[in-house]
Symmetry: D3
Subunit: 315 residues, 6 copies
């Protein structure tokens, strides 16, 4: 398997109209979760992938697993937990300073996923293990699971890919900094956003951010610069890859996960660093064109067309 | 004020189509909660009423409070709790043995309502305090609050009205039996369903059920017999009041709360026991004609028309 | 009570899609009415407020009253009129020169509200009576009611706040000018739009407009300048308060009423003239961010955050 | 032209959910009106037909005219009236004693249709003029128009078809009785419902009802007996035609108009009295299978299939 | 793998309201196809299954494949065909003699699936190959493919399960009879409906129908008797298994495929003939409780609960 | 009759949300087709018009014919074809390089319309026959029909109006060029887009494009320049007419057909060339303001108001 990942996926309930939720009459259901987003994006790009977690043994848990499996993702390691619920997330489209998200994920099934729930063999057989900084924020158990997983990967020559995904709604900056920087030491590939990096390191300078993560052991450092594109460093090679301009951004949720997927896809397909950066920028940009977290991720053919490099590809 | 009550109200998310929720794309939002249902029904019948509880300091909490206030209910004692969530309830319309309800109410704001949160003066100024057997099942704190409230009522000559509302999803029969029967001792008016009574007392016979609750101190015992109607006992008077047949039952949720409201309205308007029973049966039947928990409760005029006793009423 | 107001509220039927109404299949229901908009905005800002009018004794009348009461507004003086209908307003979203509104309000319950329907005591107990130039345009009876109300206010030391709200769909400029300027003589606070002022006075110059209304007796003159902000004059003090720029204006309906509410809230909270102007501009701007007339009005806390002056506020 | 008719058509706004309208969020738009219903049903059965009336010069008026024209009905005599509105009708699906309809049709364009608005030549060129007892109830002017129309018809050998359509919401029984019975004297074909007949004549007996209308000059008397079918009398011939049983009645509105259309279609196609009765019963029954007033009327081929007499028909 | 099957799956477009499609404004999308229905039902019952076919290389093809994969079905042998379209089916909910279905499946990708497209190894590795009488009706190529597939199965000891699924919309009875009876000779398990059997064989008697198919070589003959249940024969054993009564049938589409799945699941789990019949009747009945073709199929646990035989099952 | 036209109209199914169709749950139905668009636009501008074609003898065929007739278009020559289907078109709103349309129109009823299906008299009685370059692309039969029609027109002094409407999805440029340029020789009025002209002629220069078509015999050449406006040449007169700037373009489909309608309306009303160009630009611009192909076309009064030339017009 090319890539495996784990973390919490939730049912997303999106309002049918904008404004305060008290006046919204209807909500539609979709799928959310940083790790499953990335894995779905990779599946669409033709990689062989797996995702694992815990969900409630209920209709919402089944919905999550079915939706991820629909995309061609291996979900054979997911477990359904009796008496635990599946996490929910309500979105509120309120166009001013405070766009809100309402979580119903405390004590969810996924937050009880611990080190003992990991199937070591499943990680060992993969080329890459991808983790995010969201999982350690869910619970101490979940944090242990992440550290256990990266240790299994490192011990078995599986590359560790890490997206810090700093979420200050889930923990405070101090805790976040400590654990995320600790995890970064295990990362072969790390892809922080530049704002995230500043919050974590207190460094604004792109080069110095890259220096820091290189010094911690990451072979590939990809710094996300939003619509501007990204900075990439691989050993002595470094370059800036400009982003794709998009006229109508509809929904930026899932863009960062799409970026990470594009980068991993490039790397795993042995593309050049620049081309991998183009993949990353391209998937990220395309994700913003469609509502929903993962619905906008392209098939490889569509990605190549978008970035203007379509060529003979067999699917 | 005629009647005050307290307990948890929740946002109800109803599926737009029947079948397993994993295939349902949209949900609509409405209001639920046994105590607020009863209070709304009473307001519509022209009584002066108040409801109190805790809700999350969020859009769903505001929705609940606004919706109840819209009906003319005093909500001045409700508090908004930072960092606590407002309870949710997903309905699933699946027409076989196991119709499901999915709760997201664990550790909700309402479940933290304790004895210390009660405004004694608010209870004292009412003629009736209405409680249900749902609140003590929410948490030990909530249970203490119920007992504290009935003691305040008893100590101040406020009548206690009690609907056992046995919910085996929230606690087991043993715990339920102990607390509900304990609460029954404080009840001046008690209105168990006949099936509930059997589960609680192990008695099937209507007369004996009434004997039991009379012996515990209830002056008025109303035993709900579903569509058949009800049995009523007030001191030495006892009678059976036949129910109203309804061709198209659309939604039975809220019928029991409507029954209780009809009964209290009759009693507080000094109607005869029989007429109070007709009010109870009438509101209960009308509740089933409309989707939603409380939307079907009638105005007094509509109730009188439904039960065929319309007369000069000024509103 | 801080502020009372009266006038017609209507059921608004908004099309689910843009274009000529003959091709629109669905409409959604909401609440509209300049005076109830302002009163709702004030309630949300923490003031104690009341609204009165007549509505039909029908479901739409109940909807209007419930919706306004939901927001914490006193509606105890509203009456339900048998045999009179509740006004309707259909919106048409047609993006060229002629956006249309279709009224079904002729001979509505509200248009029959007359001087004899006013509860004098209700006006006397308020600090401010707010009126608009829409009510006198509804019918001669309604016009008499407005004049009667302002006279009661003036005779009892209640401040009169007046938003001209010139609606040339309801009457011609000649009639409008005569009555609005007559009403302006009673206004302690007046808040015309600059375009309105030009139509009424034939004056374009802001200073001269302010001079005119000052000369008529208004202590506070607030001239609305749209997104640019407002000009305020209070006795010898005068200043321009710049507006807040908003990226995505969704619906401007209700912005003017929000402005008026912000201004009154500032004044009644004894804020400085400038800060009152910021409140006014802020509520007006926030109203445009959300569809619906009143759904976008902020709570005080949200307003302060929006205008960048959040501070310790207890709710 | 085979048949012409005139009367008020309205925009029907139907709730998306059942229960009191104050809780209904959305409405869908469709077409209603007894005369246009009948004319549409006839068009679908292959007859050449025309309908005339006044509508507002607005989007709703255009909607009505377009919708009727869509069905192949001649609408060349309809006029669009500036400054008059098009009538509306809100339905409320409330399943108990009092299903409600809310009209917004007072002073509508159609209610101002008077005798002077009739195009005499248009009536003269038709075989049948169909009128209902709704039109005279709209206004004195409309009443005059109906009497003028039937006189034109009688003077020119055009058959008058009359459906009493007693609507006690629009006038009282005394007025209704006087005008309807007066109109009946002009009717060549009359099709009262048995309940209507009882209210108008105080007679319950079918034979005696038929005797009455025969004595007044009607050559064909068709008494509607609901799902049971109909009684028909043509000169000395009389017979009972049993109705078609329908498992799931969805919407009975429009069934009576469909019955009338079926009867006229049979007569105009020179079918036997019995077969005409089958057409009438068949169209009436099929109308109840589909929501909406006219959507369920069949094409001739579908009608024949429904009544089990399909045969070679070319369309 | 336990069972593999192949055949056409289509996008189903269901009207949001009943009545003739010309008046329907909206359609919702779901999945249809007899073979994929059965395979999904089997997956839900815990069997290991695969489905193959051709779909268009378009969004609708991807939708079909994703939806089937979501349920845990192996779709590795499905191919996406450039320049061929994916079949569509519009439903019309018109409650009288002629409920209609409108196909857009002529020359669809699936109809070009031929013998050369079969992966022999895929059939060989399965315990059961399930086919229906729909596929041979699609095109001569598709017919050849079915015969080729059953021959591969027979030659390799794979059981052939056959549901005749007579569809007279796709071919005439003469052609259908010839091919279906020919295919029946290859069937180890055959499950005709009693009406189907009569049309194919001209025999009404259940025993004689069973005799016929037994004589053609089927070891297990299951005759569907609708809500009444089924008749089963396995070698010398024969029995009648009564159906489950269902109060509210919502949608019978998919019930027959569910029956077949229940039967196969029983057989493959080595249940007794009677218990297999209960599974069949149970899945069939449960399918009717939910709108959509496959949404109502139960998980094994739910089936056992429905048929009243819940026992320790680990999922 | 002023103008007649013929060609394929289709049912358009538009997604309720943007993004890949596999994730879209609902579609709404509307009408599409270049020729019927133009004819509807002309009807709305007050001209007398007719449209003919073949549709399936099914609900979608009836929908198309009813929808076009609703607009006041003569549809008496349309035929309903048994066993042939009505064309469908699914739209996909995917905002990047490849916006997709999915056709289900192969072998549709309309594609079988041949020369023998033309009613010569119908063309002869018209002032103008309008054709597009879409019809010859549908099938060889359809192509023959177009050539037959223009020959009838030319032989009878009926003006031929031709919109090339190059659709490279339906045929390749070589075939298209040959037939379109051949048809151009018959055109009295031709209105190519400038991009189309370049593809067909290999010429970019506006003057030279006009020279070419003039040399082929067109008296009026109108070259569409998109939002910029148009270039018009009539014999020796030539001029550029600037377009109308539109803030919010919602849907450009139907703009070109609207342009053609505006031009023809100007010419047939004997307006000057410039004013005809304004009509053309105006209708084209207004079409973009409303979703749907034809819903945005204005009535004459609305057009005049839009282009700022309203004057006394009686309708």
């Amino acid at each position: 398997m090319d890539v495996v990942s784990f973390g919490e996926s939730m049912v997303v309930l999106s309002p049918e109209s904008s404004g305060p939720l008290r006046y919204v009459n209807r909500f539609s259901k979709s799928l959310g979760g940083a790790e499953s987003n990335l894995i779905i994006a990779l599946a669409r790009l033709g990689l062989s992938v797996g995702w694992f977690s815990k969900v409630g043994d209920d209709e919402f848990g089944r919905y999550i697993v079915n939706s991820i499996r629909a995309e061609g993702v291996d979900v054979s390691r997911v477990t359904f937990e009796k008496d635990l619920s599946t996490g929910l997330l309500f979105k509120e489209n309120y166009q001013h300073a405070n766009p809100n998200v309402y979580y119903y994920r405390k004590n969810s099934a996924a937050s009880t996923f611990g080190a003992e729930d990991i199937d070591e063999e499943y990680i060992k057989q993969a080329k890459v293990l991808h983790i995010t900084g969201i999982t350690p924020a869910l619970s101490p158990k979940a944090s242990e699971a992440v550290f256990a997983a990266v240790k299994i990967a490192k011990a078995n020559g599986v590359l560790v890919s890490f997206d810090p995904n700093l979420r200050l709604k889930l923990w405070n900056i101090k805790e976040a900094r400590q654990q995320i920087l600790e995890l970064a030491r295990y990362a072969d590939i790390i892809m922080p956003g530049i704002d995230e990096a500043e919050l974590l390191l207190g460094i604004k300078d792109i080069d110095k951010v890259a220096d820091y993560f290189s010094s911690q052991g990451s072979t590939i450092v990809a710094i996300k610069l939003g619509p501007k594109g990204c900075y990439l460093r691989h050993q002595s090679e470094e370059l800036f890859v400009p982003g794709y301009s998009v006229a109508n951004v509809i929904d930026t949720v899932g863009a960062g996960d799409g970026f990470a997927a594009g980068l991993l896809a490039g790397i795993l397909r042995n593309e050049s660093l620049e081309r991998s950066g183009k993949y990353a920028n391209g998937v990220g940009a395309m994700a913003t064109l469609v509502p929903g977290d993962s619905e906008g991720y392209p098939y490889l053919e569509q990605l190549l067309e978008f970035i203007g490099e379509k060529q003979g590809i067999e699917r």
